[in-house]
């Protein structure tokens, strides 16, 4: 029992990300409103970003910007130790993922507006009913 509690506490970031991801995925599949699905999609994407950022965290380390490192000379700085700084690679990847997220959002909203202009509703069942009537 104590083990279980210990794992839950030790990895709580992962549990939060899984919860958010499940919520987003559920909304994308089960919601009826097209914009609600887009909200779900964004939550789904940010959950994955949270996961990546969690990979990068390092105990006892600081943000990945080198201190006392201005200037260009090779002797202007002391030796840098990897343990002092947080892993920068996941951050880089996630900058890209955020950009991809906002790009997808823009396209999805554009599509939703086009659909609204055609059918005058954002509810999927109402749209499908209209299509069936044609």
């Amino acid at each position: 029992m104590n083990d279980l509690v210990a794992t839950i506490i030790a990895k709580y970031n992962y549990w939060i990300y899984i919860t958010l991801m499940m919520a987003g995925l559920y909304a994308m599949i089960a919601k009826n409103n097209l914009v609600k699905k887009i909200v779900g999609m964004n939550i789904f994407q940010t959950a994955i970003i949270l996961f990546y950022v969690s990979i990068g965290v390092k105990k006892g380390a600081t943000i990945p910007i080198l201190e006392h490192a201005h200037g260009h000379g090779h002797d202007a700085h002391q030796a840098v130790h990897a343990t002092d700084y947080i892993n920068p690679l996941p951050h880089v990847l996630m900058l890209t993922a955020i950009v991809v997220g906002v790009a997808t959002l823009g396209v999805a909203l554009a599509l939703a507006i086009r659909i609204y202009n055609t059918y005058h509703t954002l509810e999927e069942d109402e749209i499908l009913a209209q299509i069936r009537e044609e």
Partner: protein, 81 residues
């Protein structure tokens, strides 16, 4: 890292995410989504991912929310779920 703040923000992240998905008004969902993004941004800056947090603050809480509001303004606030 102060665990009380961490926990409070994690709770708020989950609450705002749930709220954005559950509220029966698209404009409200858009605003709650902005709040969710901002909480995410706070969480990431706590984790030391300053660049990611900066981007999320400007993109997620800023521009994305504006896009959502603009799209809702051009369509409708009504939603059944």
């Amino acid at each position: 890292m102060i665990w009380q703040i961490d926990l409070a923000i994690l709770t708020l992240v989950v609450i705002t995410a749930g709220g954005a998905l559950m509220v029966k008004d698209l404009l409200g969902a858009a605003i709650l989504f902005g709040a969710y993004s901002f909480m995410m941004c706070a969480l990431w800056s706590i984790m030391g991912a300053v660049d990611v947090a900066f981007t999320e603050a400007s993109v997620g809480a800023g521009v994305s929310a504006v896009f959502f509001v603009a799209a809702v303004f051009r369509t409708t606030r009504r939603t059944k779920d």
